[in-house]
């Protein structure tokens, strides 16, 4: 019996058991990340002479990215999109729904959850088609209803492009936050709220002083996950193709356009590397914040 009393398994066994996952992470996460960084330092294209003979160009692509107005456009839209659809939309709506259904009848809760989850489990392409059918200027359901009610038709994707994709993504992804918060609420000992009930505490105070502090770490986990996911969401492309005139060109769409529409695979990789950096930075910020929260 060499294993210390504090450890269930020995160091060697531990490493051995970690090995498969390390190999998987190395193959599918670390290697592609490094590969993208390397590709980003070449001028490789998918057609033309640079497809056959790509050259190493060092940091040239990165210098160009930071001079590219389309990069700043995409960055700005992505940040708006993440803030609007992930933080305010999904987390906000998810929290609202889970609090509303908290301590309510099981039937009511199941019903709300089923409806929200439905939006989450429909395949991406179908969802995109539904939203186009709903919002299209000429044949969209919403406009037909508005028209029928005597209102002017609205060209949603043209006049409110960013708002349209924010609404779309909020609708699409709220289920995750809602489920996570609902589960988190179950961890609060019922006696806390029952005591507050007896003391006739207002709902807002209950939320602020009992619910929030108790599920703080769950909120951080939720925010970190949905922020990163939303940063990499591509499906608005199916709604707007990044248009009109690049107004909904999120970073992933900007990457796609460069790499697969204009075949600048080197340049596209360089942008991917930059986005990877942004994601890492965001993750670090959240981890630090949540660490501080947990210590309190």
């Amino acid at each position: 019996m060499r294993g210390s009393a504090h450890h269930l398994i020995g160091k060697k066994t531990g490493i051995l058991m970690l090995l498969p996952s390390l190999v998987l992470i190395g193959t599918f996460l670390v290697f592609p990340a490094i590969w993208v960084l390397y590709m980003g330092m070449t001028n490789e294209t998918l057609t033309g002479i640079r497809a056959a003979n790509p050259q190493f160009v060092g940091l040239q692509n990165f210098v160009r990215i930071f001079k590219d107005r389309f990069f700043y456009n995409a960055l700005k839209i992505s940040l708006l999109f993440v803030f609007g659809s992930a933080i305010v939309g999904q987390a906000g709506l998810g929290m609202t729904l889970s609090v509303i259904t908290y301590r309510k009848s099981k039937k009511f809760r199941s019903f709300v959850q089923a409806v929200v989850i439905l939006a989450w489990i429909i395949p991406e392409v179908v969802v995109a088609y539904l939203w186009v059918a709903f919002l299209d200027k000429d044949f969209g359901t919403l406009n037909n209803v508005l028209h029928w009610l005597g209102f002017e038709k609205i060209n949603w994707f043209y006049d409110y492009p960013v708002l349209s994709i924010i609404l779309f993504n909020t609708w699409r992804g709220t289920a995750f936050s809602m489920l996570l918060f609902s589960a988190a609420l179950e961890t609060i000992p019922p006696s806390y709220l029952e005591a507050a009930d007896v003391m006739n505490v207002s709902p807002w105070r209950k939320f602020k002083d009992i619910i929030l502090p108790n599920i703080k770490s769950y909120i951080f986990t939720d925010l970190i996950l949905i922020t990163l996911w939303t940063f990499n969401v591509f499906s608005p492309y199916l709604l707007t193709h990044g248009g009109p005139s690049f107004k909904t060109e999120l970073l992933p769409i900007y990457i796609y356009r460069n790499a697969f529409r204009y075949f600048k695979i080197g340049y596209g990789s360089a942008i991917s590397a930059v986005v990877l950096g942004i994601n890492l930075a965001l993750a670090l910020v959240y981890l630090r914040l949540s660490g501080r929260g947990a210590r309190k």
């Binding site: 294209t45 998918l46 057609t47 033309g48 002479i49 497809a51 056959a52 060209n155 994707f157 043209y158 709604l239 707007t240 193709h241 248009g243 009109p244 005139s245 697969f260 529409r261 204009y262 075949f263």
Partner: protein, 441 residues
């Protein structure tokens, strides 16, 4: 030649053992885009299959040209792809540079019809002295108009504008007399891709005596009065007088939407190519076809700007053709299939389904006769003498994108003409280098 024969014989033997399949990919889908192509293949492929004893499969796609191109590129780069690829001729230089096309000089040498192909068409299919593409058809560009709408607005039919101003005049009448009808569709913006460069931008630029590329100096033109006037014309249509719908140009699936609107008779004039008439508007197209197309839709030659010294009329031509995948396992068989596709009979039957401007003289003699197809005969006679080709260099698609962006920035009012031109000049200079650009007065 003997080598090819040996390869062919070996292939035939291998085939009888393993059941060989030759695949052909085209941007066509039954009931949708280029549905006529599918109908055509279905009608004559069985004969070739029987003749050669192989399976031939047509891979249908029917998607946006840009997406089709991406698919072809990724297929080949990944070591696969269809054996025979029906692609756009202007992709040849960049594909050839990348090694994505098999040189086919050995194949065309055995194709009896090759001697009938015009030199200009052979040039479209070759790059740096090698042949890569057998042209299937070429086209011309013009301005289509809906005769019924013209009559309703009190405009003369037949109609032939002599200057840009004539087009604007007609558009103003439509706007005034027929509310709800978009007077003119002149492609703009990046969403329509190459259709903007060819059908819109070039058709205007050429009319002002301009070009993107200076064939005398071998440099790309980043600023010129012709470029300015081109953008001025766009601005008049889309911004100043609202004779076209700027929102539509940048909407998702803009091109399909304009086809739809033209079909619903909500667009009066549309600058487009042969394909628009023979495929999109064709009575045999279930999506956008007009049963009475020949009576309802008229065409006019696209006039030049109208200043002294400007070209009277303009047109620009592209074309598609058959290329061979370098990854093909059966070049000998591919050669045999191509040879049979290019026999005169299947070519005539293809022409019947989806008329095109012929790239070869033997077919042209048949197809330019009015009895065979009045539209092709007339447009070919009227426009082939004015037509020109794109500067097809490997770098062209990137410049073309910048031209699309140029029109987008002007028609959406994001930038003034001077600002947009400044951005264009900067971007093109970044792409080809300072020594390869010039500014003209």
């Amino acid at each position: 030649m003997r080598k090819l024969l040996v390869v062919f014989l070996i292939a035939v033997m291998a085939m009888s053992l393993f059941g060989v399949k030759i695949t052909i990919i085209a941007n066509a889908v039954k009931g949708g885009k280029n549905t006529q192509v599918v109908d055509w293949f279905e009608s004559f492929i069985p004969t070739i299959e029987e003749d050669l004893g192989v399976d031939i499969e047509l891979i249908q796609t029917g998607i946006k040209d840009e997406d089709f191109k991406a698919r072809i590129v990724l297929d080949i780069k990944g070591g696969g792809g269809a054996d025979i690829m029906w692609i756009d001729g202007f992709w040849v230089p960049e594909f050839a540079e990348a090694g994505y096309l098999r040189p086919i000089d050995d194949i065309v040498a055995n194709i009896p019809a090759w001697k009938y192909y015009y030199d200009s068409m052979k040039a479209m299919g070759s790059y740096k002295g090698k042949t890569y593409l057998i042209p299937a058809g070429t086209d011309v560009r013009m301005i289509y108009y809906n005769k019924e709408l013209f009559k309703k607005a009190g405009l003369p039919v037949p109609w032939q504008p002599r200057s840009w101003e004539d087009i604007l005049k007609a558009a103003r009448v439509i706007k005034e007399k027929l509310p709800g009808v978009i007077p003119i569709q002149l492609n703009a913006g990046t969403e329509m891709g190459e259709a903007t460069t060819m059908q819109g931008f070039f058709m205007v630029l050429l009319g002002a005596g301009g070009n993107l590329y200076d064939w005398n100096t071998g440099k790309w033109i980043v600023k010129s009065s012709a470029l300015r006037d081109t953008l001025e014309f766009y601005k008049k249509i889309y911004v100043d007088e609202k004779l076209g719908d700027a929102d539509l140009q940048v909407a998702p699936k803009a091109r399909e939407k304009t086809f739809e609107l033209f079909r619903q008779e909500k667009i009066a004039m549309y600058v487009e190519g042969t394909w628009f008439y023979t495929s999109v508007l064709s009575p045999n197209n279930p999506s956008w076809g007009f049963p009475d197309r020949d009576e309802r839709i008229g065409w006019a030659a696209m006039p030049g700007r109208g200043k002294p010294g400007d070209p009277e009329f303009v047109s620009i031509s592209g074309g598609t053709g058959f290329a061979v995948n370098p990854n093909t396992k059966y070049p000998g068989l591919v050669a045999e299939v191509l040879k049979r596709i290019l026999y005169l009979e299947p070519q005539i039957s293809y022409f019947e389904l989806k008329p095109f401007v012929s790239p070869r003289s033997d077919l042209a003699e048949l197809s330019w006769t009015v009895n065979r197809n009045k539209f092709i005969a007339e447009t070919s006679r009227a426009l082939v003498k004015y037509t020109t080709f794109r500067p097809a260099f490997p770098v062209y698609p990137e410049i073309s994108f910048q031209a699309q962006l140029l029109t987008e920035r002007v028609v959406t009012g994001q930038m003034s003409i001077e600002e947009a031109l400044e951005e264009f000049a900067q971007a093109v200079t970044d792409i080809v280098g300072k020594e390869n650009v010039e500014e003209l007065p």
